[in-house]
């Protein structure tokens, strides 16, 4: 019973938060709504016993990601009302609700083959974090490492793209201009 109440409550909250996030014209509202929605989602994780995931959700999502977004928002100066030209919103609403209805119709049906044998079962008496760690560093070691590479890629990408060097474009400069530039900057910027 408690579970049901919690489910419906948080379901209502996340849905409304996310709905606000996609409809409001105030960027700040949207950001706050998303952050709140993510927190509520972590609540689901805790309900479902995925404690580790819940913690990660709060730290990474509500913390790091949202902080990044907030920073971006300030950088882009979108704190005030966002003016967006909306075309035919019927298409948007129509497509989305159609998608939702379709999927829900399917998902309303129980999965017939529900006697699934768990490959990496949740072991009683073991903390979720510990269990997750166990699986993560055995079975999912490779994806984990690849994810590390991915984060490295993302970091490099972020640095490169946001870096100062992107401010002038060699692609658009003629050979003579590049030559001048090299002399000016003493081969600092360019290789």
């Amino acid at each position: 019973m408690f579970e049901a109440i919690a489910f419906y409550l948080f379901a209502f909250l996340t849905i409304s938060m996310f709905y606000i996030a996609v409809t409001t014209s105030q960027a700040l509202y949207a950001l706050s709504a998303i952050a709140a929605g993510m927190l509520f989602i972590s609540a689901f994780f805790f309900i479902l016993g995925a404690d580790f995931l819940g913690a990660v959700q709060i730290i990474v999502y509500s913390g790091a990601v949202m902080a990044l977004y907030a920073f971006g928002m300030m950088f882009f100066d979108t704190t005030r009302e966002v003016k967006e030209k909306h075309g035919n919103s019927m298409i948007v609403i129509g497509l989305s609700s159609l998608a939702a209805i379709m999927v829900v119709v399917i998902f309303a049906a129980p999965i017939v083959s529900s006697n699934i044998t768990a490959l990496y079962p949740v072991v009683d008496g073991v903390g979720n974090t510990q269990a997750v760690g166990m699986v993560l560093f055995t079975k999912y070691l490779v994806p984990f490492e690849v994810a590390a590479v991915m984060l490295l890629v993302a970091m490099i990408a972020g640095i490169v793209l946001a870096g100062k060097k992107m401010d002038l474009s060699l692609t658009l400069m003629s050979d003579a201009e590049i030559k001048d530039l090299r002399e000016d900057q003493n081969k600092k910027v360019l290789s």
């Binding site: 890629v153 060097k165 600092k188």
Partner: protein, 502 residues
């Protein structure tokens, strides 16, 4: 309490990771070199990248040898899956990358090549693609895919002009949506089977006789949307022309080959077993996708005024053509996919490289875009050899024998014929005929029109340098003498595909 895990090192089969690790190490090496002494010339990084890619290639040859002896190998807690498909596709990925990377040694300077990070990201991207094809675990596929994609978005943006940013943003945004689709699709598969390994999924689904067909279809739908984006199937293709136009010609050529073969491998792994299990829905849907993608992309290519954009649409059309292999799903068709893609790689890299050497920094008055058709008017008069080579690539793309792509088309259509897809075979043939028109258009501009008065005669080789010319020469030789290549390739590919159970 958890039991401690005892794993022997042999059972991990870490050697399976070697091909992916090499480029990662290479990338790190580049970063480290840059850290110690920045401001090195790009040729250093190009050579480092090539060396590592060759090492990668060598390790692939090694695993190919191992595969032909022992068959499919699983590794590292059965996450890695080194089967024939993985090896073949990695050959294409690494091979095409080796051919691609010297294209950065242009005579003109472009922004991205001034970054060592460009080459590091490039190698990371290759590793990402390699991971993507060398596993049947959806998680690893996803992570590999994202690694590669994020690197790719950056590489495109690093060209550093408005169009390339626009291209990168478009690609990125749609890619994010596609990633969401992928995860949703995986989720439904997981909900159905409790597993995210394709083999396991197939086993479970077969075990219960596809009782939850509706769920399966939802999962397939989202997977199709996601992979359709990667493979640029209509209507998920809309990024392709813009991204090709926005990125540099060499990058566009690369994008038309490598990400797609990775996508095809994943698609093959996911859809093949469904097709064989008699999911008629998928068969019908794929049929529609194949036909619509081929035909519509051809029609749009007809009306383009820019050669690179035309080639973008033509790449979409080729992807649709090759998608037929997955629909047909026989050993022959899957072999045809690889054969086609190898030959397509030669031709398409060659033709994009031709665009690349004719790249100017400033667009003169008579051109509306980087490579608008009238730029090439009368090329035979000013640079005959370049014109002949370009024509060669166009003819090959059109499927005129005996140039490379003809053999691919031949084998592909033959596989359709053999599997009883008669109408499909005919549609494929007729589409080749439609495609003939736009390839011909370029030939007509080059050979039959007069040069524009006042045009720079050197424009066609503006950007050329020895490495570029060598690459083009290599591609041209490959295109012309493909008929020698076809037989060994076909034998090799067929045995690998067959032994992988596809």
């Amino acid at each position: 309490m958890l039991e401690s895990v005892n794993v022997s090192l042999e059972s991990l089969n870490l050697i399976t990771l070697l091909p992916m690790l090499i480029p990662v190490i290479g990338a790190l090496l580049i970063l480290v070199i840059d850290m110690f002494k920045s401001g090195q010339d790009k040729s250093l990084y190009v050579m480092i990248a090539i060396i590592f890619l060759f090492m990668d290639f060598a390790s692939l040859v090694d695993s190919a040898g191992a595969f032909s002896q022992d068959g499919t190998v699983m590794g590292v807690f059965n996450v890695m899956l080194i089967d024939g498909l993985a090896i073949l596709s990695q050959f294409i990925i690494v091979g095409a990358s080796i051919v691609f990377i010297p294209l950065s040694l242009t005579s003109k300077r472009f922004h991205e090549f001034s970054y060592p990070e460009f080459f590091a990201l490039f190698l990371f991207m290759i590793a990402g693609f390699q991971f993507m094809v060398a596993t049947d675990n959806l998680i690893l596929i996803f992570v590999g895919l994202e690694t590669a994609s994020l690197a790719l978005y950056t590489l495109i943006a690093m060209h550093n002009r408005d169009k390339s940013f626009e291209a990168a943003v478009k690609y990125f945004t749609m890619g994010a949506l596609a990633a969401a689709f992928f995860s949703f699709g995986s989720m439904v598969f997981y909900a159905l089977t409790g597993s995210v390994e394709i083999n396991q999924i197939a086993t479970v689904l077969a075990g219960n006789g596809y009782a939850d067909i509706a769920y399966v279809l939802v999962a397939v739908t989202f997977m199709l949307a996601s992979l359709g984006f990667k493979l640029s199937l209509v209507p998920f293709h809309t990024w392709a022309p813009d991204v090709y136009e926005g990125s540099s010609a060499s990058m566009a050529g690369y994008m038309s080959i490598v990400p797609k073969i990775a996508g095809f491998i994943v698609a093959m792994r996911i859809f093949e077993f469904l097709i064989h299990s008699g999911v008629e829905w998928l068969e019908v849907v794929l049929y529609i996708f194949v036909v619509v993608t081929m035909t519509a992309a051809n029609m749009w290519a007809l009306v383009q005024t820019d050669v690179k954009r035309m080639l973008a649409y033509s790449s979409i059309s080729h992807a649709g053509f090759v998608m037929a292999a997955i629909l047909i799903g026989t050993t022959q068709s899957n072999s045809a996919l690889f054969l086609y893609w190898v030959l397509f790689a030669f031709t398409n890299l060659g033709s994009f490289a031709m665009l690349w050497i004719s790249r100017q920094k400033n667009i003169p008055w008579y051109q509306t875009s980087d490579h608008s058709y009238n730029k090439f008017a009368g090329m035979i008069k000013t640079s005959p050899i370049a014109a002949v080579i370009m024509a060669l690539f166009m003819l090959s793309l059109a499927g005129v024998p005996p140039f490379a792509l003809f053999w691919g088309k031949l084998y592909m259509i033959s596989s359709a014929v053999n599997a009883g897809y008669n109408a499909l075979a005919l549609i494929m043939a007729l589409n080749s005929a439609i495609a003939g028109y736009y390839y011909l258009k370029l030939i007509i501009y080059m050979f039959m029109k007069e040069p524009i008065v006042g045009a720079d005669e050197q424009v066609f080789t503006n950007n050329s340098s020895l490495p570029l010319r060598s690459i083009i020469g290599f591609a041209a030789i490959g295109t012309v003498f493909a008929f020698i290549l076809v037989n060994p390739l076909l034998e090799f590919i067929t045995s690998f595909v067959y032994n992988s159970g596809y």
